[in-house]
Each structure stands twice: as structure tokens, then as C-alpha cells.
């Protein structure tokens, strides 16, 4: 507990002044962060073209005085809610309103700084914008956590968030913001990358489930093999992703050269094949380990009773053991899916496609906006996958052990 905290909490509560006592600690921190973003750092970066270094601009420099003041006043109101309000829905509403305000300010700034019909200049979100977004995002997340929404409500919130984001993007609100400019340059490439990204993550996950689930069951049944299998998978997990992609290029290339059938089904040293194989290998450990852990938590008495009442081995496995282990196994699948969505980005290095194409393209061209065009959807995708699977796990884990 900090000194200021002691000052606020100790004597104030002793003298019964509840107004001061209720100052929210997280709210205070986020207000400081947000204020730093708003007043000390540039809100947007103006670039004459996409690779020039940015020219930082404050909110007051780019928006009319009334708009800049209005924006600051609304953020001050959000901060008041963050500091004083105990009501979680109110805090959430304030945070979301704050996000809408800075998003609108960004769009307005981009529109104001871009000369008509000019496709060369770039108006990128500045450090101040990102800091404000982070503070408001944390405030919203904290409020949602305090509200303890059920799994269904969380999925609904996610759908609402994605829906609003997609609608504003489709409406063209942010068309003059740098990242959307990069998108407009090659929209079909973005659609293709999105498809590849999802296919690579889900495909390698599906293949891993098909192999890892039986392997996990097998490890559970044969405890003597468990340490060997798990440490082999552990070693795979420690190989850095770039190295593993590289290691796989040589044997897969050789395979494609010598086995025509392999080449015919699309196996090559570079491209999707080594990417899927590497992701598949990374996916094994979490699923196998969680399958073993999940089956282990099923009590021996329950299994004994199931067999003793005349259920067959298969009926016991499918109807009792796997059902009871499912929440833990799904937690493993969640880890793998989120991990794969991130790792697919690296697969772009060996021609695997996906959003990583933009990230590495952007790094190569020193075009930060292009990097963001790859990074932002990757984060949104991983976040959405995590929310969805967490909700599913919670839904299935309603019955305590």
C-alpha cells in the first residue's frame, strides 16, 4: 500500500469521510496514465508519405478548439467515473464512451490532416492515442471483471464489440487513418491473409487434437510411458519457432523432391506444409498434458463404479472419463489455439501466408502502418478465440468435482 493510499484511507475512514475513502486505486493509476497520454505525448503522427518518420501532433493542433476541449472534457468525465464510481456498469459505460471519443477524435484528426484526394500522406495513431486506448481498455476490462458476467454474456459482449468495430470500419469512418490506408492498397490480399491465418491455426489445431487426444488417453492408461512422451513433447516446445520452421524446410523439401505424391498434395519445403507441421508439433504438448491431467482428476472410485455396473471400457471412457475431463482438455485446446494464432504470424517467414505477411512486409519496408495491419487483426483474433473458449470451458465446468 502506497503512502498516499495510507493518507487517503487511514485518517479519512477514522473521521468517517466516505467520499475520500472511495477513491479507486486502479482508477487513479489509469487516470495518471491517460493524462500522460493526453497531455505529454502526441495524439497522431503525420507523415508526408508512408515511410517518412512521423511528425507528432497534439489533439489541440489538429482539431478545432471546441472539439479538442470537448474531447478533453469528456475524458475528464470518464476519469471522474474511474476515480469515484463504484458501480461497475457505470464504469464500463464510461470506458466505452471514452473509447468512442478517442476513436472519433482519431478519425476527425485523420480527416483534417489529409488533403482531399491525397492518398500519399499518412496519419497514424500516435503514442498518446495508444496510451489512452490502453488505459480505457483496462478500465473496461476491469469493469467487466467486476460485473462477473456469465459465459453467454461475455460472448455477447465480444460479438457486440466486434460488430461495432466492423460496422464503423465498413462505413469508412477510419478510411483516412494510416492502417486503413494500407488496407485499401490491397484489400484482396488482406482477405486472403485472413483466410490463410484462420485455416493454418485451426487446421494445425484439428490435426493436433486428432493425434494428441488418443496419445493423452494412452499416456493416462500407461503411466510408465508418460514421462517419456511428455519430455519428448517438452523438448519440441523449447525449440524456437523460427528454428523449427527452418529445421522442417530441409526434410520436407527432400520429401517433395523424392516422393511425387507428397509434392502432388502440396507438401513443399516452404509454404503451408512446414508451417502446419511446426504448429502441429507445438500443439501436442498442451493437449496431451491437459488430457492426462483431466483424466487424472476423474476419481478412481467413479471409474471403478462405472465398470462395476457393467459399462464397457468404451462407455466408461466416452460417457464418464472424457466428459469429466473435458473442461481441462478444452483449456489445453484454448492454450493451443491462442498460441497458434500468434505463431502463424511467424510462419509468414517461410511463405506460409497469414497476417504475418504484412508484419514482415512492413518491417522490410520500414512501414509501421503495414506492421499494424498484420498485428491488430492477429491480436483481435487471438483475443476472440480466448473469450470464446473460456466461455465454453466455464459452461462445461458447472458441475464441481
Amino acid at each position: 500500500m502506497s503512502a498516499s493510499d495510507l493518507m487517503l484511507r487511514g485518517p479519512a475512514s477514522a473521521h468517517g469521510r466516505p467520499a475520500l475513502r472511495r477513491i479507486d486505486r486502479l482508477g487513479a493509476l489509469l487516470t495518471l496514465v491517460g493524462a500522460a497520454g493526453l497531455f505529454l505525448l502526441p495524439f497522431v503522427d503525420f507523415k508526408a508519405n508512408r515511410i517518412l518518420p512521423g511528425d507528432p501532433r497534439d489533439l489541440a493542433q489538429v482539431l478545432p478548439v471546441w472539439a479538442a476541449l470537448g474531447c478533453q472534457a469528456s475524458l475528464a468525465a470518464v476519469s471522474a467515473a474511474a476515480l469515484l464510481a463504484a458501480n461497475a456498469p457505470l464504469r464500463l459505460a464510461a470506458a466505452l464512451a471514452g473509447i468512442v471519443v478517442i476513436a472519433a477524435a482519431l478519425a476527425a484528426a485523420a480527416n483534417a490532416l489529409t488533403p482531399p484526394h491525397n492518398l500519399i500522406v499518412r496519419v497514424a495513431p500516435g503514442a498518446g492515442f495508444w496510451l489512452l486506448l490502453a488505459a480505457l481498455g483496462l478500465l473496461a476490462t476491469d469493469a467487466i471483471t467486476r460485473m462477473r458476467p456469465g459465459p453467454g454474456a461475455r460472448v455477447l459482449l465480444l460479438a457486440l464489440f466486434l460488430g461495432v468495430a466492423l460496422l464503423t470500419l465498413a462505413h469508412g469512418t477510419f478510411d483516412n487513418v494510416s492502417v486503413m490506408r494500407e488496407y485499401a492498397v490491397d484489400a484482396p490480399a488482406f482477405a486472403l491473409a485472413a483466410r490463410q491465418h484462420i485455416l493454418l491455426s485451426l487446421g494445425s489445431l484439428a490435426a493436433a487434437v486428432v493425434v494428441a487426444l488418443p496419445l493423452g488417453i494412452f499416456c493416462h492408461r500407461a503411466p510408465r510411458l508418460r514421462p517419456g512422451v511428455l519430455s519428448a513433447l517438452n523438448i519440441i516446445q523449447t525449440i524456437p519457432s523460427i528454428a523449427l520452421f527452418g529445421i522442417l524446410m530441409a526434410p520436407l523439401g527432400a520429401l517433395a523432391t523424392h516422393v511425387p505424391l507428397a509434392a502432388a498434395v502440396g507438401i513443399r519445403g516452404i509454404g503451408a506444409a512446414p508451417a502446419v507441421l511446426a504448429l502441429f508439433l507445438y500443439s501436442l504438448l498442451p493437449i496431451v498434458a491437459n488430457t492426462v491431467a483431466g483424466l487424472k482428476r476423474v476419481s478412481a472410485a467413479t471409474v471403478d463404479a462405472a465398470l462395476g455396473m457393467g459399462m464397457t471400457r468404451w462407455q466408461t471412457l466416452l460417457g464418464v472419463e472424457l466428459v469429466l475431463a473435458l473442461p481441462v482438455i478444452l483449456t489445453g485446446i484454448r492454450i493451443v489455439l491462442v498460441q497458434n494464432i500468434g505463431l502463424v504470424t511467424v510462419a509468414a517467414l517461410i511463405g506460409g501466408g497469414g497476417f504475418g505477411t504484412f508484419v514482415f512486409g512492413g518491417i522490410g519496408q520500414a512501414a509501421t502502418d503495414l506492421v499494424l495491419l498484420g498485428a491488430i487483426p492477429t491480436v483481435v483474433l487471438a483475443f476472440s478465440a480466448a473469450v470464446l473458449l473460456d466461455a465454453l470451458v466455464e459452461l462445461l465446468d458447472r458441475v464441481p468435482q
Partner: protein
């Protein structure tokens, strides 16, 4: 009737059960008692072939159990274990309906049978059917475990330390309930325990096992009066064997005929169901020589004197 013929189980060089033969009468409670590692659980689990015997055979009502697939055999035999083993993800009703569902009973019949069993085990069907096992107390979970084992009307019920996880007071109640259920459903019960008191309380016949072998298999009073070896003698407790013997006879069985002048003599009455041990304790406490034995309706049925009780506390 279950006939066990020189049944053995070996694990490598270890002999868990060593050529055990015994006949278990229909509609009786047989208790297998022994220390841990005596092979009693293995013997029980070979009856429903959860463990396949190395040699020997088991006949249930003259049919060799080897003749049918193990899981089908087990659907005809009730099975209750320590810590109940209820399915945590299924409701009480679904748990009880497990074997009937495996046997393909129709839903209405399963519902009716579930309600009947819950009622028999003093659990209100309306209140408990849709509850999950974790919402029940230990004693209630144990009763649901018994109901689940009896669901498909098995002729034989196997119980492996069924009351081991219960505290003493609930255990005593559960034992009484079991005796009642046995009478009600006419089930042949084989129960495994390490608790000799439980064996004497429940068993029509008691089998004592040690190191995989069956040491003695007889009525409880024979175990007390003519123990086969030092182990059985030690188990039945030489210091209190007289008391154990008295606890095996009820007041109703030992009551002497009543003469008219003696009715209501000193006002001390004992129920016919009380054991002689309890009657003796009551007389000692009251400092009296005799008591009147009355039935459930309060009608005098006979009398008991300290001398008559003492005569029963030694081998005949």
C-alpha cells in the same frame, strides 16, 4: 446361490487369493472380513469379474459366470463401493438409472423404479431426483449409491467397504437400513469389511480371510465359540467374546415364558428386538434381576432374568 470353487488370483509370484471355495446362500448377508491385503476385495471383485480369476470358477444360480461377457454379467449384479463413486456430472435420478438405461429399459419404467428406490431409502424423490451428488451429505450419497446398485433389481448385491467413509453414527443407521433393504428386496448380499463389529452386526454368515486364504466361514456365534485358529480368536476378541455372543441373540429369541403373576412386575420392559447384551446392560444399570420383554405394540411376550442371560453368554 453363489458357489465359489477353488478360486485363485495370482499377480506374478504373489498370490492374492488362494483356492477359496465357499457357498453363499440365497437371500442372506455374507460378510467377508479380513485385514488389508488379505485378498477379501479381490475375492469380491472376482465374483462380478472386475478381476478375472487365474483359476477356479464362480457359479451364480448354477450358471458359470465365465459363460458371458463380463460387462453383461455385471449389469445383473449390484455393486457398491467405498466413497460411493457416484457420477458427479449426473443427477441423482440419472445416477440411479445408469444400469436400467444400459439394459434398455423404457423411460417410464426407469422413472418409476428410481422413485420407488429413493422412497425406500428415505429420500424424497421430488426433492432429491434432480440434485447433483455434491449437493448431498455423505450419508445421502451412500444411500444413492445403494439405490443405484439396486436399480435393475439384481438378485446379488456386492458391497466393498460400503460404509467405510461414514462417521460412526451415520454408519450405524446405514447398517440398519441395509438389513431392512435386504429383507424388503430379498437380495443376496456379499459385503467386504475390515470391521469385525460390522461383520457381526450384519452377517448371517461371516468369512474370515488372511493372506489370500479362507480361514473360517460360518455363523457368527460359531466364530466366537469355536474359532478355527488364533487369528479368528484374536479377531473376535477373547476378552469380550461373551458379550459378542450375547449381542447375537435378541430378547425375543431368548425370552422365557411369562407367568400371570409376573406381568409388569417391576416395570422394566425391553423390546423383543433388543440384543441380550443390551438387556444385560439395562439390568445392570437399573440394579435389577429381571425384565419383561414386550413387542412393538407393548404386549408382554416373555421375561428375561440375569441368570437366563448369563446362561447364554457361554458356549452351549
Amino acid at each position: 446361490m453363489i458357489v465359489i470353487e477353488s478360486l485363485s488370483k495370482r499377480y506374478g509370484t504373489t498370490i492374492a487369493v488362494d483356492a477359496v471355495s465357499m457357498v453363499i446362500e440365497r437371500n442372506s448377508i455374507t460378510v467377508i472380513v479380513g485385514t488389508s491385503g488379505s485378498g477379501k476385495s479381490t475375492l469380491l471383485r472376482m465374483i462380478n469379474r472386475l478381476i478375472e480369476p487365474t483359476s477356479g470358477r464362480v457359479l451364480i444360480d448354477d450358471h458359470d459366470t465365465e459363460g458371458e461377457p463380463g460387462h453383461l454379467l455385471r449389469r445383473r449384479i449390484g455393486y457398491v463401493i467405498q466413497g460411493h463413486g457416484l457420477f458427479p456430472h449426473r443427477t441423482v435420478a440419472e445416477n440411479i438409472g445408469t444400469v436400467p438405461r444400459l439394459l434398455g429399459w423404457e423411460a417410464g419404467r426407469i422413472r418409476a423404479r428410481t422413485a420407488q428406490l429413493l422412497q425406500a431409502l428415505q429420500l424424497d424423490p421430488a426433492q432429491y431426483s434432480e440434485k447433483y451428488p455434491y449437493q448431498l451429505s455423505g450419508g445421502q450419497q451412500q444411500r444413492v449409491g445403494v439405490a443405484r446398485a439396486l436399480a435393475a433389481e439384481p438378485a446379488v448385491l456386492l458391497m466393498d467397504e460400503p460404509f467405510g467413509a461414514l462417521d460412526p453414527i451415520i454408519r450405524e443407521k446405514a447398517q440398519d437400513d441395509l438389513l431392512e433393504i435386504q429383507r424388503k428386496f430379498n437380495t443376496t448380499i456379499v459385503l467386504v469389511t475390515h470391521d469385525i463389529d460390522e461383520a457381526f452386526r450384519l452377517g448371517d454368515r461371516v468369512a474370515v480371510m488372511s493372506e489370500g486364504r479362507l480361514i473360517q466361514y460360518d455363523r457368527p456365534e460359531v466364530l466366537v465359540t469355536r474359532p478355527a485358529d488364533a487369528l479368528v480368536a484374536r479377531m473376535t476378541g477373547s476378552a469380550e467374546r461373551a458379550m459378542r455372543l450375547l449381542s447375537l441373540t435378541t430378547a425375543g429369541e431368548a425370552a422365557l415364558p411369562l407367568t400371570a403373576s409376573e406381568v409388569g412386575m417391576n416395570g422394566i420392559t425391553v423390546p423383543t428386538s433388543a440384543s441380550l447384551r443390551e438387556v444385560l446392560s439395562e439390568l445392570l444399570w437399573r440394579g435389577s434381576e429381571c425384565a419383561t420383554v414386550v413387542d412393538g405394540a407393548g404386549t408382554p411376550r416373555g421375561r428375561l432374568t440375569v441368570a437366563a442371560i448369563l446362561a447364554r453368554g457361554r458356549p452351549a
